[in-house]
């Protein structure tokens, strides 16, 4: 397999605090890779550095063989790199259904004033049904609960046609039954060629869905490998899983 994303010696400082410390790892094309680690270990900061939300203090990021360092989130989205957030970001003043159809284009120029096809609508309706959002399809996204926004953001990603998706704690605040629906979608999207990098604390989910697993602690990569190996690594037990 080829590397789709390569992070090398990435560093980010916030004043005195070194949030990401010479961090290096890569994500193979076609994988569902997990990025785990304790609260405060730098996982979300790594996401922000990769996706252009934060400038780094050193190191490089390569996507599909080209450096993407310093590029804006919009540019990266057009190149097929998309992400979700811990606190879901949706268009609050659009309805739930509108949120999905505008995400359908996969191209920024299509986002506003684009032609919304019957196919987009059908796909949106299907996703709304699966994530139990059909009854709120015509509500503004601002009227949704925290967990429902999380589901809407995830469904929006599934409407687009990305090459690499970064998911930041997709299951946080999501009902256990729908976590299974999420897992199913991630697997089928992956089978269709989409690569995933997932930050997640639900270890049961990580073990069932992800391979390989990268472990971050204090901004550094401390372990990497298949879920079973990582789960029994003494450094990981000590830093993250506990007894």
């Amino acid at each position: 397999m080829t590397e789709l994303l390569r992070v090398e010696n990435l560093t980010k400082k916030f004043d005195e605090l070194i949030a990401v410390d010479n961090c290096s790892f890569s994500v193979e094309e076609g994988s569902i890779t997990a990025l785990i680690g304790p609260n405060g270990s730098g996982k979300t900061t790594v996401f922000n550095l990769i996706t252009g939300y934060l400038p780094s203090n050193g190191g490089t990021v390569e996507f599909a063989g080209s450096p993407i360092h310093g590029q804006s989130p919009g540019t990266l989205y057009r190149k097929g790199l998309t992400r979700t957030f811990q606190q879901a970001r949706v268009f609050a003043d659009l309805t739930v259904q509108e949120n999905l159809v505008v995400a359908g284009g996969g191209s920024w120029t299509n986002l506003f004033g684009r032609r919304i096809t019957a196919e987009d609508r059908a796909r949106a309706a299907e996703l709304l049904d699966e994530f139990k959002l059909s009854h709120v399809a015509d509500l503004y996204a601002s009227e949704l609960s925290w967990g429902q926004r999380k589901l809407l953001e995830f469904a929006s990603v599934l409407m687009s046609k990305p090459r690499l998706v970064l998911l930041d704690e997709p299951t946080a605040g999501v009902n256990p039954i729908l976590i299974e629906t999420m897992a199913t979608h991630i697997r089928s999207y992956n089978a269709a060629g989409v690569t995933f990098l997932i930050v997640e604390h639900d270890m049961s989910f990580v073990m069932r869905v992800c391979d390989p697993v990268i472990v971050l602690d204090r901004g550094k990569t401390i372990a990497m490998g298949n879920p079973e190996t990582v789960q029994s690594d003494p450094r990981v037990l000590d830093a993250y899983l506990g007894d």
Binding site: N39, L144, N175, P176, I179, M203
Partner: protein
Amino acid sequence: MTNMDNSGSNSTVLLKLTDVIAGYGSGMVLKGVNLELKQGDVMCLIGPNGAGKSTVLKTVSGLLPPREGSVVFEGQNITGQTPKENLRRGIVHVPQERSLFPGMTVWDNLLMGGYLIRSRKVIQERIEEAAHIFPIVTSRRNTHAGSLSGGEQKQVELARTLIFDPKLILLDEPSIGLDPKSRRLVFEAIRGLATAGRTILLVEQNARSGLAAADQGAILETGLVRITGVAATLLEDPEVARLYLGASTMTRPPAKNSTGELT
């Protein structure tokens, strides 16, 4: 509503919701919620996203006045009272979002928690009491709250509720976004509060852990309470597991076999 409660306990009812209807804008989220919480119990509220769990907590603390129905606390009708009035009565609400002041120290955050209390001495005493259950209050007292880990911040938030000497603590998804170690700390802390005699109404999507930390459980769906009962009984009920709990959320799942299927 199915009642799976067979405890037959006669202890005092602290909180009673009767036919509570509530919502935002034109929408209706709660469609006639009935719920009873006994003094000293921990009750965990679970259910699908958008079922109205957070809204139940808001109608109790006063953040959202019900349109119909009543909320009775210690035998007194408190329907439509303001959050400040309810805070004075002893109801504290810890929201889902992190609520500490990140630029302030742990200690100052606790002092802020006592803003309604005039006596400095009382505040001091209560902080000391809180430190018994949450040692972080003293061990990290001069640390800025914003530089604590998520789990540590949650512990400080829980400690801060004790400054009011609350009779009822409302917790909205306390384990959200926390790593496995921190999750355990938070659920242990909830048990610690229960042992200290606090009554707690808890909302959790981490349903198995939430029910495991609770005495009573209630399942909310589309704005109605569908099932209530002893938490341990709900956890063991196969139908409840199938409809509401999903795959096990334990930290160490069973190993996969070579085909990647769970054994």
